[in-house]
């Protein structure tokens, strides 16, 4: 069961640089003892608003989603590391809950 989800927005770069940045991120995750379950590419798109990071204004970004299992104590260190990475525009770690079952939802149950 995925415990956490990292929604990563990387700078719009060429393919080898993007892959290098991803590799760095996943390696830092594994170094801290996390088990990476899934890596999804949500495509490169225009950011919804201009994001300024590392003294640079970004208008385009590459969106990635990384599911991983990990201990709870590594997250603050991981976020710190990601904020310092120049290629990362916005990292966000979310807890992943799969219990959004629609029992007791209003309305008829099939």
């Amino acid at each position: 069961m995925p415990r956490y989800e990292l929604a990563l927005i990387l700078k719009a770069m060429q393919r080898p640089e993007t892959s290098a940045a991803l590799r760095r991120t996943v390696e830092s995750l594994m170094q801290r003892g996390a088990v990476v379950r899934d890596l999804e590419n949500l495509g490169e798109r225009l950011l919804p608003y201009a994001i300024t990071k590392h003294n640079q204004k970004h208008s385009r970004g590459a969106y990635f989603l990384i599911d991983f299992y990990s201990a709870t104590n590594i997250l603050s260190g991981l976020l710190d590391h990601l904020h310092r990475d120049v290629d990362v525009v916005r990292p966000t770690v979310l807890k992943k809950d799969d219990q959004v079952s629609s029992s007791n939802c209003c309305g008829p149950q099939q």
Partner: protein, 136 residues
């Protein structure tokens, strides 16, 4: 003595004739079942399920998972002019789903998935599910 016995007999006769509603209660028990029996007979016809009951309809997002990644769905509950989230009286969602949608929209805003001040132009042509008509 004789009078006593006579009284007893009269008493027993009176009991038998007068109190027909009460069953002959055996010596030990003191149940009051007779009342219930009578009431059941009276109310047998009145108890019935409402024949005019309409099937219970759920809100729009019943059985639909709401996610911060699904910005197209979330944008349907957002104003196209200002990007503000619509209230419950406009969306028509139930309490739980409205909360989920508003939380997902806020998450998407902070994570850089959805715009705050406007609606994505790609989603402007989506069908209008909220009960609001814009003077366009």
């Amino acid at each position: 003595m004789l009078a006593f016995r006579g009284l007893k007999r009269i008493h027993s006769v009176l009991l038998q004739h007068g109190n027909t509603t009460y069953k002959t209660i055996p010596a030990g028990s003191l149940t009051v079942t007779s009342h219930v029996v009578q009431h059941k007979d009276d109310t047998k016809l009145l108890k019935m399920e409402n024949p005019y009951k309409e099937p219970q309809t759920g809100c729009l997002l019943c059985n639909v998972t709401v996610d911060f990644k699904n910005t197209q769905l979330l944008s349907q509950f957002v104003s196209p002019h200002t990007g503000r989230t619509y209230g419950r009286h406009i969306t028509g969602l139930c309490g739980r789903k409205q909360k989920e949608v508003s939380k997902a929209i806020k998450k998407a805003h902070s994570m850089g998935f959805m715009s705050v001040t406007h609606k994505h132009p790609q989603f402007m042509k989506d069908p209008n599910i909220c009960g609001i008509k814009h003077l366009d």
